[in-house]
């Protein structure tokens, strides 16, 4: 295992110390329980937005705390969802009286822990709404699975809901908007290499030099299928077509598109994927009107990428374009 770390046990704490030192203009970091919170929280009469999940997906979620996006993020151990007490404390810290939205990625651990946290917050008289994001088309949504995983759409939902909350929308409206983003967004990812969980010390899976994993999650969980390595164009086709046909996206749709790196893939390759994705979408009569290209929801040092498309309308675009000031996403300010 080759990593810039000290003791595997200390990875998250030390990273949080780095975040605290680097971004004191944006966030405060609370330790025990661990959470990252906007420096100006709680904001009176603004809906608070809390997300969280295992660490190892940076910049998500801690890098998305700040004006126009999240009010707080709860980082768990690497690839392990955080605990209810973190979520409860974060919820209390951001509650400005207008209630708190929990944006939860659909993984059993995240769902169960956020569920317990919401129960506890309710006991303390805080109004909490929870929206579970489940945009990963690689997983069959059936009674035979825990449901689709929450992946790239989470980033888009956090941005858009953050803007709506900033504008003063009610908890019910912001939660409704979050469900709308989730309903209109789809993602799929792939891996060229495995990641290595620090305390595991070796790659989560073996992927021979000539193979790749399609439909991978963000935790090194194996994907839909393993196949022979293909070209960027072919890979882009597989991902794009799976995403497009699922919603389905249709001729004339305008979309916000994210080509996301898994952590170990250089930007140059993401742009290669992006240009071919745009061509494929043009072939379907679908227009990319906004885009993110880079590492936004990662799997440690995994090489690979994911594609997320969100069907956009004027409302979503307005919130998308609204100012955001976080370590991981910043514009308009």
């Amino acid at each position: 295992m080759k990593k810039l770390i000290n003791n595997p046990e200390d990875v998250v704490k030390e990273e949080l110390m780095g975040v605290a030192l680097a971004h004191e203009d944006l966030v405060r970091v609370h330790f025990n329980p661990d959470y990252v919170v906007r420096v100006d929280a709680p904001i009176e009469d603004k809906v608070g937005i809390v997300s969280g999940g295992g660490s190892g997906h940076e910049p998500m979620h801690g890098g998305f705390v700040g004006m126009g996006m999240l009010d707080a993020a709860c980082p768990g151990a690497v690839f392990t969802s955080p605990t209810p007490d973190q979520m409860l404390e974060a919820t209390k810290a951001v509650n400005g009286g207008a209630g708190v939205l929990h944006i939860v990625k659909n993984y059993t651990g995240d769902v169960l822990n956020f569920e317990m946290a919401a129960e506890m917050a309710a006991m303390e008289g805080i109004e909490v709404a929870s929206v579970v994001i489940d945009d990963d088309v690689a997983v069959q949504d059936s009674t035979w699975t825990a449901g689709r995983r929450g992946v790239g759409a989470t980033v888009l939902a956090e941005k858009i809901c953050g803007a709506a909350a900033e504008e003063g929308k009610s908890l019910q409206d912001v939660a409704e908007l979050c469900r709308k983003v989730n309903n209109q967004a789809r993602s799929m990812g792939m891996a060229l290499t495995s990641c290595t969980v620090p305390h595991a010390g070796k790659p989560t899976f073996d992927l021979p030099e000539d193979q790749m994993e399609i439909g991978i999650g963000i935790h090194g969980e194996p994907g839909r299928t393993r196949m022979e390595l293909k070209t960027a164009d072919e890979i882009t086709e597989i991902l794009t077509n799976a995403v497009v046909s699922d919603l389905p996206f249709e001729k004339g749709d305008h979309v916000i598109a994210m080509v996301n790196g898994m952590g170990g893939t250089p930007l140059i390759e993401l742009y290669i994927v992006y240009q071919h994705m745009v061509k494929i979408l043009q072939g379907h009569g679908i227009f990319v009107v906004r885009q993110l290209i880079g590492n936004y929801i990662t799997s440690l040092e995994m090489a690979g990428c994911s594609i997320t498309l969100l069907k956009a309308d004027d409302e979503l675009l307005r919130y998308w374009d609204a100012p955001v000031k976080t370590a991981g996403l910043r514009w308009g300010v």
Binding site: P33, G54, G76, A77, V78, F79, T80, S81, P82, T83, P84, D85, Y107, T108, G109, L112, N113, E115, M116, A138, V139, Q140, T143, W144, T145, A146, R149, V197, H199, A200, T204, F205, G217, H219, G220, E221, P222, G223
Partner: protein, 210 residues
């Protein structure tokens, strides 16, 4: 009768067993999950053992509830709420008792398993920890009902848990992270079922002494 010292021993012994099996559990979780179950359980029970001195003179219900709450607040993942719920519900079922009869223990286990089932919305056969816990409870009841002593009955429970754990190998996962794998989950032993077997095995070793 099971004394609170026995319960403390059980939990302490399980911490050691988890430490010894940390890599093994993580390896099982690498195959069909995300390679953290060993570290998660280890972190949780280290916290539990650190907490025990503050409750070891309390009733067994309190000890178990504290164990559960500690797990909830230190483990995370799926395991945290599920094992946390197991111990919280088990503790609630025998609240206030400083000593447990074998039947008390069976009642506590039942309540714990019911809690896991309720929290995780799974049933046996879905390739989860329930596949060790449920047969273990059934075997404990059956053996006690048949007149066997605690030691024998807990041994039966552990044997049933072990069998349940092994039975997860051919199962198709339909809950938790392993369910994403579909058919590819078949052929692997479930990590949660394995840590649950170890828990019952520890109970047999530590609680069934007399």
């Amino acid at each position: 009768m099971i004394k609170r010292e026995d319960v403390v021993t059980w939990l302490t012994c399980y911490r050691q067993v988890l430490k010894d099996n940390k890599d093994y559990l993580t390896e099982l979780d690498s195959a069909i999950g995300d390679a953290d179950h060993g570290a998660n359980m280890d972190r949780g029970f280290n916290a539990v053992v650190a907490k025990l001195p503050s409750v070891e003179d309390k009733d067994i219900g309190t000890i178990l509830k504290t164990t559960g709450m500690t797990l909830v607040s230190t483990v995370g993942g799926a395991g945290g709420p599920l094992y946390g719920t197991f111990f919280m519900r088990a503790g609630m079922a025998i609240d206030g008792k400083a000593e447990l009869t074998p039947d008390d223990l069976a009642v506590a286990f039942d309540a714990g398993v019911a809690g896991v089932q309720q929290r995780g919305k799974a049933t046996p056969g879905e390739k989860t920890m329930l596949d060790s816990l449920t047969p273990a409870c059934a075997a404990l009841h059956e053996s006690l009902d048949g007149g066997a002593d605690l030691k024998v009955s807990l041994d039966a429970a552990a044997a049933a848990a072990e069998q349940g754990m092994k039975d997860t190998i051919p199962m198709l996962a339909t809950k938790g992270r392993a369910s994403y794998l579909g058919e590819r989950s078949i052929g692997h032993q479930d990590p949660g079922a394995t840590s649950s077997f170890l828990l019952i095995q520890c109970a047999a070793d530590c609680l069934g002494k007399e």
